[in-house]
Amino acid sequence: MVEGWTGDWTMKSKLVSVSEAASLVPPSSTLVVGGALLRRQPIALVRELVRREVRDLDLVTWASSLATDLLVGAGCARSWEGIYVGLWWYGLAPSFRRAVESGALRVTDHSESYMTARFRAAAMGLPFLPVQPIPGTRMTARDDVRRVICPYTGTELHTVAAVEADCTILHGYVGDEFGNVAWPAHRDSDDVDLIMAAGARTLVVSVERIVPHDTITQHPNLTYIPHVKVDAICEAPFGAWPGSCDTEYDEDGEELERWAAAGRDPDAFHRYVEEAVLAAPDHDAFLERLGAARTKALEVAR
């Protein structure tokens, strides 16, 4: 790297506001939502979808928590597919749970190898992938899991369809204005954001910080989402709050307890959404209401 070299970039800026980024998610569409457990759920983008009243979403996730619970609790989702929805240390996801138990939300449960194959098929441009069968379970008794005979060995395999989503939303660590998104050298990697990004049709990413392109070019191997895949990138500090962003900040336990308590009653959760989401018109106003003292206390040593 030559000191002071700024290069001559021909890439186009894809940097927009959180609100503009979220406007790329149409109603009645299939939406992949990234993150794992309480980590890097794209909550700033999700809050914006709630503000915009984007309805009838079909959600597809890995291990989801706050994003799914909020979209379901705010009436934005009609179905969910994935491996897990819960609030991890903070119990079951209350609004998600109520919607499933009332029959309002359609759910399709997948195990990790079947779900990984669905995301990988999309990333590989294939309509389906075979998987090693796990017969005799409720999951594999469904008709979306099909059987195929391996043409080489003659053994029976199961197949699962590619995740054909209209849009994918992810929350990342840092990125540049062109949409190159980088992870730190060491992180908590218990997610499939990389595969989700590779198989995305329309990809919207929020990041903790927009950094100069020069910062990205120093370690291109840390870029896990290249700009060519990205349709919009936006800066959303604390964009996973009240969940965590590993290497940046911990989850906000106090707020998660508040969330879990409010979620037990639909009216209480409605009031929580009014106060915690709708009262601020956008992410900047939201951060201001939250206050720097509160977010600062959650930051972890880098």
């Binding site: 491996i83 991890w88 449960d109 990790e112 990984t116 017969p135 379970t137 409720r138 499939v192 040593a301």
Partner: protein
């Protein structure tokens, strides 16, 4: 430490210590063991605390080559477990390997590379089938739980899955409401008939007793923990397990095992607290 105080220690063995030591004796050298990330309170002790203590104890004894895959981290430094597993502490926990995405770990699982996994569930039945997805058999569930995670893969592809659960009528049921993960199915030969190449769940370690599985796939009572009677145990189950004659007592931890658990492995009671 004097011999007298070691004996005193042994007299107040906690249930969690007994469970951890019992599990550790099921582990062998060079085992590759999967431990989940768990949740809070009692569920954390069952899914994470007891398994991690058991793995470390086995490493210090019969299994120096045992490898632990915790979440997406292979061989986290078990000599230095973070006091609280906040996100920052988890991220900074040192280990040998963490792949770029968790799909790599799922691949290892499906390839049959894991020897042991630890399971807990809302329901387990007579044949060791597990349910972590939903309670109730109607079109909509009475209680929606979390989903599937990789538990179906564990019972399908891991050589010796070990279930760690508290004994209760609500959890030990005649037939699970929803087969998230296939154990011994509906009895003799049902795994093989479906094409499973692994033997299925190998043991169930509870707070009151230990089970294994009989030839026909039914849950079989192996031993009662000290102070537990057969009647107490049966009263806490919704079905009757196989009982072959007089049931043994679960072997107590020896002094050196207790010493290691209390002094070396979990001195701050981070893992066996709840």
């Amino acid at each position: 430490m004097s011999a007298a105080s070691e004996v005193a220690e042994r007299d107040d063995v906690t249930t969690n210590e007994l469970m951890a030591v019992t599990v550790s004796r099921l582990l062998s050298d060079d085992d590759l063991v999967f431990v989940g990330v768990g949740t809070a309170g009692r569920a954390f002790s069952l899914a994470v605390g007891i398994p991690l203590v058991a793995c470390r104890l086995a490493q210090l004894r019969q299994a120096p080559g045992l490898d632990v895959y915790w979440g997406n981290l292979l061989n986290p430094d078990l000599s230095s477990v973070p006091e609280t597993l906040t996100q920052g502490a988890i991220t900074r926990w040192r280990g040998a390997y963490a792949p770029a995405d968790i799909g790599n770990k799922v691949d290892m699982l499906v390839r049959g590379e894991f020897d042991v996994s630890f399971e807990s569930a809302a329901q387990i039945d007579r044949y060791g089938n597990l349910n972590i997805t939903r309670i109730g058999r109607g079109d909509v569930p009475d209680v929606r739980l979390v989903g599937c995670l990789a538990q179906p893969e564990h019972l399908a592809f891991v050589k010796r899955p070990v279930v760690v659960m508290d004994l209760s009528r609500r959890a030990f049921v005649e037939q699970v409401d929803h087969v998230t993960s296939r154990g011994h199915g509906v009895g003799p030969g049902s795994r093989a008939a479906l094409g499973y190449r692994t033997a299925g769940p190998s043991a169930v370690v509870t707070d009151r007793c230990v089970f294994d599985f009989a030839e026909d796939g039914r849950l079989r009572l192996r031993s009662l923990h000290a102070g537990q009677s057969l009647e107490d145990v049966l009263a806490r189950m919704s079905f009757e397990p196989v009982v072959d004659g007089a049931v043994a007592q679960t072997p107590a931890p020896d002094d050196s095992e207790l010493h290691d658990v209390r002094r070396l492995i979990d001195p701050r009671r981070t893992l066996l607290r709840a």
